[in-house]
Amino acid sequence: MVEAMFQYEFLRNAFLAGVLIGLVAPLLGVFIVVRRLSLIADALSHVTLAGIAASLLIEKKFGTFVGWNPLYMGMGFSVAGSLFIEKLRSVYKYYQELAIPIILSGGIGLSVIFISLANGFNTDLFSYLFGSVSAVSRQDVWIIFGIACAVIMAIGLLYKELFLLSFDEEYAVASGIRAKTIHFVFIVLVALVIAASMRIVGILLVSSLMTLPVAASIRIAKGFKQAIVYSVLLGELAVIAGLFMSYELDLAPGGTIVMLSVLILLITILWKKWRRG
């Protein structure tokens, strides 16, 4: 694949995009996992799918948006979905997890309606569902790069607030941290990263890139900073190795990356067991 990468632009694009999401998805994932919000990523990815389907539908019916990247609409839906989740979580104070199935099924329902309205799509939708190495355009890479920069900057600047909010929300609020605002920024970032990641791993597997490397890392990490570093390293390992394998063996990259993540997780668990004796 290395020689091929010099030859084909699409491979370079896929590689760059992969490295970027291999960094930001686990980075945000650490905060998602320790706050027990893992399923939010799942719900949002299905909402993103609805946005993509809507965009493809408009393109097919009217043709006017040809060349308009479906990622934009996916991002729009995802952010709207994240705000809706927050609203629902405050409505159902004592059943906060209810927000997730509501949004998730809403996302799928909408997607199915859009898809059937379009009488089905070509392989384009398939690549959004399962990820693709060949479908990543240069414009996609730029969008993903922009999102990655925003995420890294926001996490860097709000690190201590996000940490406190994750570790002890009550104390954070009592000590005067603007918890609502910071949580809002965070959830919007999650929505953006989900939209960015699906080009490579596909909508159905986005959440696993946010959670599996973290699940492995918190088994072995001492402290939060270390958990972040390990999560990102393991995420990158899975993405880069997965991309190579999927190219060489002609597999869907999403599935390969996720199965590698599962493998890494299993190895970590076994290693931890073995080291404990």
Partner: protein, 252 residues
Amino acid sequence: MKTEEVLKVEHVSFRYEKENVLEDVTFSVRKGAFLGLVGPNGSGKSTLLKCILGLLKPQQGNISLFGTPISEFKEWHRVGFVSQKANSFNTGFPATVYEVVASGLTAKLGLFRFLTAREKQAVMEAIEAVGMAKFHKQNIGELSGGQQQRVFIARAIVSKPELLILDEPTVGVDVHHVQSFYNMLDELNRRLGITLLLVTHDVGTITEKVTHVACLNKHLYFHGKADEFAQLQDHDLSKFYGHHLHVLSHQH
């Protein structure tokens, strides 16, 4: 000359719903004191603390911190608080003792500011003050209940408060370690000069450790020096504490 009044509670009454949980409570804490606030479960201790911290607003009465009514009080970094629920956190959370204690500086630092060398040193000093220096790189979930409680106290004192409020900190602490836990509080009180307000439902242990005692059960039944409290006869307090008092006061 009397020392400064760190905390003053005057004729405070509070109710969540219809019935008063606190009724006409009046007492004060002077600088350098170690006040034990005792009362059975459900007597309104946590409620009173929330009023003092400005988290609840009493329907009647006034509370001042450092001479300022709490409605106008802004210097919250002068007050440290360890909540009753502090050690009910997610024990699988990957955070070291150091990281947890450092998080106590979040509000004081403000947005977009990072820990400087001086603040990092303050974190280590707070960890040392509670006797946890050896463990500063350990994940907090791997510690015992008593050790975790010490870490939360370190988090509360890292911003150098003058008044430290603790809500039932010995719940979940191994009986054998309660003694050394109180010794540590004594250190904070005497060596660092932190005024302490400790809430507990365990009358027996507390009286030997503190300088002052207040007994709360909706009303304030007693407020005075610890030795005066020790001289009270059991029957003086039985109306307040019920028969539990006998059991507890003879244990020690």
